[in-house]
């Protein structure tokens, strides 16, 4: 599942610097949050990983770290992801 994390990191790098961002670091702590980014992230995850993100999934905790996103994807696809 580490390829998931790699792909997610690549996506984030289009928006902000990820050189120092660990897989467990808060993605939003740097202050880069805007409506366009939020919807692009959701739309990208849905398309790239062929999943549907429901309102109930929109907990910040599911998106705040690369680890958390990979785990949510794993849950959605029925795969266990090591933290």
């Amino acid at each position: 599942m580490s390829e998931y994390k790699q792909i997610i990191r690549q996506f984030f790098s289009r928006f902000f610097r990820t050189d120092e961002l660990g897989d467990a670091d808060d993605v939003f702590a740097g202050g880069y949050v805007n409506s366009l980014f939020a919807i692009q992230l959701i739309a990208w995850l849905e398309k790239e990983f062929k999943i549907a993100i429901e309102d109930d999934d929109l907990q910040l905790a599911n998106f705040s770290t690369i680890d958390a996103i990979a785990q949510m994807l794993g849950r959605k696809q029925g795969v266990v992801v090591a933290a």
Partner: protein, 369 residues
């Protein structure tokens, strides 16, 4: 039908016509703006009165563009020679279909196709556009000088934003060009803009623009509720409400007043009844900054922040913005979702923007009289 019912019908019709307001006029060139075919006669002259109409539409804040089957460079040079080239955003001068050009303009300016009017002297061009886009208002070029009197072309207010709308779009085009060429993450690009956000209580001078924002903004709008000038004035003056307005500028120029927030204060909860932003600032983090400000103030006042959300087919972005700003969904009541933020986490403003609170919620009105 009784006369009262008839009057009501008439009023409704008028409302509908007013609601269908034209935001962009797309002009043909040959036999529409000038009196011949440019490629056959280089010495074409402007149709008398056409420049007056173009300038008046511009003053009213109605944007304009071109759809013409012509050679791009030759036609643009002619428009420049007439001194009117700068009135037209994203001119589509090519040999493709006009239906495609009209669509391209709507996409580039980011308006609905139903807010476009298309003026052309050739009936088959109007029919082609009308066939592909039934909601486009097609006008015969011979009737160009009558459009200024038509309701669809008369905005309810002409605000400062209307008068400088074209210039704001022009600076947007410059910004977008620079952004497209920018190599590196989006956040680094934002940092180059020198964004300045001003946020504070609306004053009476802001109310026309505030009404316009509630009517024109659909995507970045949490409830889609529209408010009239008088309703907004009452809210502004109510001790239990706050009406906040946000303006944004950067090194390319001003974006104008682009955000609005309507807050209802109760002893334990403050409720955001409406939060909206112009879609021109979709990637600037304005919503997050306003939410941060509200959370900060609610935290100081020791209350929780609630937000109402009414789902439309276009505003999911705002739902996600709330959820990503620590709002929990408490459920839906009569079609209105209620979200809540405990206001225990107060986030910093993003580093790429400087935020100026002018006449903020904590300020007493007298201090600014």
């Amino acid at each position: 039908m009784s006369s009262n019912a008839l009057l009501a019908e008439l009023e409704k019709d008028r409302e509908e016509r007013r609601a269908r307001s034209v935001k962009v006029v797309v002009w043909d060139l040959d036999h529409t703006i000038w009196d011949g075919v440019l490629l056959e006669d280089e010495a074409v002259a402007l149709i008398p009165g056409v420049v007056d109409v173009i300038q008046e539409l511009d003053r009213r804040g109605i944007l304009q563009s071109i759809s013409s089957k012509n050679d791009h460079a030759t036609a643009m040079a002619k428009l420049a020679a007439f001194g009117i080239a700068e009135y037209f955003l994203y001119p589509q001068i090519n040999w493709g279909s006009k239906a495609a050009s009209v669509k391209a303009i709507a996409t580039a300016i980011n308006v609905g196709i139903d807010s476009i009017a298309f003026i052309d002297d050739q009936s088959f061009e109007r029919e082609e556009v009308a066939y592909s886009h039934p909601d486009v208002l097609c006008v015969d070029a011979t009737e160009f000088d009558a459009i200024l009197e038509r309701n669809e072309f008369i905005p309810r207010f002409v605000t400062d934003e209307s008068k400088s709308r074209r210039l704001m779009y022009l600076s947007d085009i410059q910004r977008n060009e620079v952004e497209e060429k920018f190599e590196g993450p989006k956040e680094d690009f934002l940092a180059t803009l020198g964004l300045q956000l001003t946020l504070g209580k609306a004053t009476e001078n802001d109310l026309q623009r505030a009404e316009e924002l509630t009517k024109r903004t659909h995507q970045l709008n949490t409830t889609g509720r529209t408010y009239s000038y008088d309703e907004l004035k009452a809210i502004m003056e109510s001790p239990d409400h706050e009406l906040l307005i946000a303006g944004l500028e950067d090194r390319f120029g001003t974006y104008g007043k682009i955000g609005l927030c309507l807050l209802e204060r109760a002893p334990k909860y403050w409720t955001v009844k409406l939060l909206l932003m112009s879609c021109r600032v979709m990637s600037r983090g304005v919503g997050t900054i306003i939410i941060n400000y509200l959370v900060t103030e609610a935290n100081k006042a020791g209350v929780r922040l609630r937000a109402e959300f009414i789902r439309t087919d276009r505003n999911r972005m705002m739902y996600i913005t709330y959820r990503f700003s620590h709002f929990q969904d408490l459920g839906e009541f009569d079609g209105v979702s209620l979200l809540e933020n405990e206001c225990s986490v107060v986030s910093d403003y993003p580093a790429y923007a400087s935020v100026h609170i002018v006449n903020g919620m904590g300020c007493r009105q007298e201090a600014f009289a």
